[in-house]
């Protein structure tokens, strides 16, 4: 019964942050809401027992893609990076800390503040290397190809003019 409430809560948070991202008139606010969406999705994967997917989602989307989006927003001059009143931000920081601590206690009740043994991390990583190593190789090739395309698109600027 409890997992249904967790699913409802996470779904509501996801839909709210997506609505904020898509309906906001400022691109910079959309970017911040999208960052929160990535975090919530990673928490959802983690809450349902797949920490590897949660970490991958957070590292890829909340980390790399958000920085890439921020760079493009700054390059194109679409940024109006006002983060609202400074007092509100200062008040939100301890609140975020409390929410993060409570989330950790809920998600990892036996491990909060404790040592996560080597066996659990090995068990998580063994999925990667024992089940589908060729898939990973193909994905790395696809990702490297995308990076080469980006470098060539951004670097070949002087030939046209």
């Amino acid at each position: 019964m409890q997992s249904e409430y967790v699913a409802l809560l996470l779904s509501a948070a996801l839909l709210a942050s997506v609505a904020a991202a898509l309906l906001s008139s400022k691109v910079s606010n959309s970017l911040i809401a999208l960052f929160y969406t990535s975090i919530i999705l990673g928490v959802a994967f983690t809450a349902y027992g797949d920490a590897l997917l949660g970490l991958l989602t957070m590292i890829t989307f909340a980390g790399a893609i958000s920085v890439l989006l921020l760079s493009v927003v700054l390059i194109t001059g679409e940024s109006e990076l006002g983060f609202g009143p400074r007092r509100l931000a200062t008040a939100a920081i301890p609140l975020a800390g409390v929410v993060g601590a409570v989330s950790l206690l809920v998600l990892f009740p036996g491990q909060a503040g404790g040592y996560v043994g080597a066996d659990s991390s090995v068990n998580v990583l063994i999925f990667l290397w024992s089940v589908r190593p060729w898939d990973l190789l193909i994905l790395i090739v696809v990702f490297a190809g995308a990076m080469v395309t980006i470098v060539s698109l951004l670097g070949g600027d002087d030939h046209g003019s």
Binding site: E4, I65, V142
Partner: protein, 104 residues
């Protein structure tokens, strides 16, 4: 085969995100917002794939599909952002209608 309530909730949310993202891709008037909408659709696809594997004993297949979706989605989005930068350098706008008008 019955579906658990939390699985159904997550599956419905993922499907809704896919449709919202795809719809927003079509109606967006800013190329950056288009890329962001595509990211929302990728999020929805990931969530739907993940929740579709929740009812079974082993989730390795759905996990493999989600990892594939995450990395391919991130690669496509990176290429899309590079194209946005190139388009902005050439036309000095991100409005698709304006770009179409300038091309003619």
């Amino acid at each position: 085969m019955t579906m658990a309530a939390d699985q159904a909730i997550l599956l419905a949310t993922g499907t809704a995100l896919v449709f919202v993202g795809a719809g927003s891709v079509g109606f967006s008037k800013n190329l950056l917002k288009t890329v962001m909408s595509f990211q929302v659709a990728v999020f929805g696809a990931n969530l739907a794939l993940f929740s579709s594997g929740m009812g079974f004993g082993s989730r390795l297949l759905s996990d493999a599909f989600v990892i594939l979706s995450v990395l391919v989605g991130a690669s496509v989005e990176a290429v899309g952002l590079a194209i946005v930068v190139v388009v902005y350098r050439k036309y000095h706008t991100l409005n698709p209608d304006e770009i179409r008008r300038l091309r003619q």
